[in-house]
Amino acid sequence: MNLVMLSFIVMGVAAVLLSGVMITRRWPVSAAMVLISVMTLLAGMFGLLDAHFAAVSQIIVYAGAIMVVFVFVIMLLNLPPEELRYGGVTVGEMILSAAGVAVALVLGTKVGQGYLSVGIEELGILKSENSLALHRPLFGPDQNVKNVAATMFVEYLWAFELISFLIIAAMIGSVVIAKKRSAENANAA
């Protein structure tokens, strides 16, 4: 158990717990803030997993852009307290939650015993000749970004372009959705 492992576990546990905290918040702003911290923790975990670029992107894009939009909308709506009913949890839901916790715990013990790595070897991901593994140093210093780029723009170029279409569609779509109403208002007035 070295320092890296320790901090990873701490971050992971914190992230899970904070996620739990998030879903139980009453105020959306609080929830958003907790979520941002979860994301920041995840960014740290990415960093520990040597995915530096992913870590930084996690913060810049997720925490720095997407969540800002969330917060922006939350603030814009500025919901009155009576809008924020907090529906109770039914018995069935509680049973479900309990089952989830139980499974998670049992699985945790299994993971602790190294069950997961055995299972992964059985799946043969690393040995398969059909895997898309690239046999080159991936996680050395200053290599991460280059490798991500190389993979993304060679193997996944097509998907990348498709995603860009998706983003354009989403942009146009959200503008249209948001604007329709105001145009109607303008007409009415």
Binding site: E93, L96, A99, G100, V103, V106, K110, G119
Partner: protein, 666 residues
């Protein structure tokens, strides 16, 4: 100009005429249309004469291939079907008849159709018909022949329905086409079998390939080919059981009846059988069937002809009957006399139709012979040529029909596949022919005039623009063809002069002209027949006897007809009353049309409706539409589980994830 090019020109010039008239001369003056139409046939006629009396008469067979039409790998080799033309002595005769009689009829039609609008259409159809007919007889293989075979069917369809505004005409055209199609199926099947047996469709190749050994080994198949060909012939040449279209086909303009339904198209069956004679004679069963069909048709159609009152209908049944004679001739192995009768029939039947057309034209489209009479005074040329035609068809000694018909009857008795019974049937048919033809001629041209004058005024209402109401002789353009055809009706038969007469006249050429002319074509058939059945077993005495008998019968029946109808059409009523129901039955053409309608058409329609209602609608659509309804019942239960709330779906997902974890890891 070499002969190959001439041959191609003979075929293509009518097509050119058809295209010119059909597309480019639509607005041209009538004179141009008629001239182009007629020249498109007359020029090939001249070329044909050059061909036939030149190299063909010298025994050459001229061949040419325009282009490769179908070419497919077949078994180990290839199945090649070129668009090939060939002219030998058999097709030479047909060529001359088609173009010669065709030119005359075109000339005649130019005048006959002078009151019609848009006559370019008529001439385009006619030229197209001649093109088809020529490709039928000139084709060097069965597929090219089939092109003509179906082509003439289409042209006949179009021409019968030329006055399409009356639905009956269009229906008649359709009937003709469909009946022909039934026959065409026979031709098609014969082709398939030929492909299977010989691997080729070229007549000369088939003839080469058909050795006696092959024939012996494939006797059933040859019989099948023969019968399929016969089916084709019954369709095209209007034999039992497919003859029904021909009487209805009289709905077309009269020149069409003369050209298509008397001289050319309907005789193509005889051509085909003669062309395939070398194959047919291998199968006695097929030959006998052909002969019986021919004889029965001859008699059957003649009986209907006895009582018809429409001038064209009488001629139509007479045509069917005469075609029966030709088929009979082929069926008994006397192919050359079938062809001879084809030729003489082309002359006198064209003459009769044109004469009838002349009458109809003069009578302003009146066709009922009960309303005619005494016309010979007003239309002498038409009248006397019509009389010549009648004498020719009834076999008046010395005229063309006498020679050709008597030769057929003689061979029906004594030919290779002949039988006295066949002769009896033929003779009875000839007797009927004499009766109804004389009846027709007498009622139309002699006796009292029964023309209704009121009818003329009525006719004005139709918009026909006549300057005077008198019935009068038609112009030269119509009478000239009549005169020419009359000449040929008289002399045309001498090519098939019976042996007995030849002996009497002291001609010792051995065989008569037509036998000599067609000898190369029929050589193989003759060899086969001789080998299998020996020489024909006739004698001069028999020939004289039969000839005398039929002449006697002809004279008696003619006299009987004149006596019966001297006082007008009412003369026959006493006999009609005497036989009563039979008369009605014959007047209704033995109700064959109704029989077909009830036995074939209506059941097929029922089947079609049944397929649609029970097959498509009830069964298949039922499964398609009701099957989902069953699923719908099940799913409507399931869909209640679908609350539409994401949260509930996620619960299922959640349980699923947990289950998956338990299953995999625990």
């Amino acid at each position: 100009m070499n002969y190959q090019a001439m041959l191609a020109a003979v075929l293509l010039i009518p097509l050119l005429g058809a295209l010119l008239n059909g597309f480019f001369l639509r607005r041209a003056p009538r004179l141009v249309t008629v001239t182009v139409g007629t020249l498109a046939i007359a020029v090939p006629f001249v070329l044909s004469c050059l061909l036939v009396f030149g190299p063909v008469s010298a025994g050459e067979v001229i061949r040419t291939e325009l282009f490769s039409w179908i070419s497919v790998p077949f078994n180990e080799g290839r199945l090649e079907v070129p668009f090939g033309l060939s002219v030998d002595r058999l097709s030479g005769i047909l060529l001359l008849i088609i173009t010669g009689v065709g030119s005359l009829i075109h000339l005649y039609a130019g005048e006959y159709m002078s009151h019609e609008e848009g006559v370019y259409r008529f001439f385009a159809y006619l030229n197209l018909f001649v093109f088809s007919m020529l490709s039928l007889v000139l084709g060097s293989n069965m597929v090219v022949t089939f092109l003509g075979w179906e082509g003439v069917g289409v042209c006949s369809y179009l021409l019968i329905g030329y006055w399409y505004s009356d639905e009956a005409n269009a229906r008649a055209g359709m009937k003709a086409f469909v009946a022909n199609r039934v026959g065409d199926l026979g031709f098609l099947l014969a082709m398939f079998m030929s492909v299977k047996l010989f691997g080729t469709l070229d007549y000369s190749r088939i003839a080469e390939a058909l050795t006696n050994e092959l024939a012996a080994a494939n006797a059933p198949l040859l019989t099948a080919i023969g019968l399929c060909l016969l089916l084709g012939v019954t369709g095209k040449s209007a034999q039992l059981p497919l003859y029904i279209w021909l009487p209805d086909a009289m709905a077309g303009p009269t020149p069409v009846s003369a050209l298509i339904h008397a001289a050319t198209m309907v005789t193509s069956g005889i051509y085909l059988m003669t062309r395939m004679s070398f194959l047919l004679v291998h199968s006695p069963a097929a030959m006998t069937t052909i002969a019986v069909i021919g004889a029965c048709t001859a008699l059957f159609a003649a009986t209907i002809g006895l009582v018809q009152n429409d001038i064209k209908k009488v001629l139509a049944y007479s045509t069917v009957s005469q075609l029966g004679f030709m088929v009979l001739g082929c069926g008994v192995g006397a192919f050359q006399f079938g062809v001879a009768h084809l030729m003489t029939h082309a002359f006198f039947k064209a003459l009769l139709f044109l004469g009838a057309g002349s009458v109809i034209h003069a009578m302003h489209h009146e066709q009922d012979i009960r309303k005619m009479g005494g016309l010979i005074k007003k239309m002498p040329i038409t009248g006397w040529t019509f009389v010549i035609g009648t004498l020719a068809i009834i076999g008046f000694p010395g005229l063309s029909g006498f020679f050709s018909k008597d030769e057929i009857l003689y061979y029906a008795w004594s030919g290779t596949f002949g039988h006295p019974l066949l002769w009896v049937l033929g003779a009875l048919a000839a007797a009927c022919t004499s009766f109804y033809m004389v009846r027709l001629t007498y009622l139309v041209f002699f006796g009292e005039s029964r023309v209704e004058h009121a009818h003329h005024h009525h006719d004005h209402g139709h918009g026909h623009d006549h300057h005077h109401h008198e019935i009068h002789e038609n112009p030269l353009a119509m009478t000239l063809p009549l005169m020419i055809l009359a000449v040929f009706s008289i002399i045309g038969g001498y090519v098939s002069m019976p042996h007995a007469i030849m002996h009497m006249l002291g001609i010792h050429a051995g065989e008569n002209l037509i036998t000599q002319w067609l000898a190369p074509v029929l050589e193989k058939a003759k060899v086969v027949m001789t080998a299998a059945h020996g020489e024909a077993h006739g004698s001069a005495a028999l020939e004289w006897g039969l000839m005398g008998t039929s002449t006697l019968v002809m004279l008696i029946m003619s006299g009987f007809a004149i006596a019966l109808y001297k006082a007008g059409p009412k003369g026959g009523e006493s006999i009609a009353k005497a036989v009563g129901g039979l008369y009605r039955l014959i007047l209704d053409k033995w109700r064959v049309d109704e029989l077909y309608q009830a036995v074939i058409i209506e059941p097929l329609k029922k089947v079609g409706d049944g397929f649609f209602k029970f097959g498509d609608r009830a069964l298949i659509e039922g499964i398609i539409n009701e099957g989902p309804r069953g699923i719908y019942l099940v799913t409507s239960v399931l869909s209640d589980i679908q609350s539409g709330l994401v949260r509930n779906y996620l619960k299922v997902v959640f349980v699923g994830i947990l289950a998956l974890c338990v299953w995999i890891f625990i």
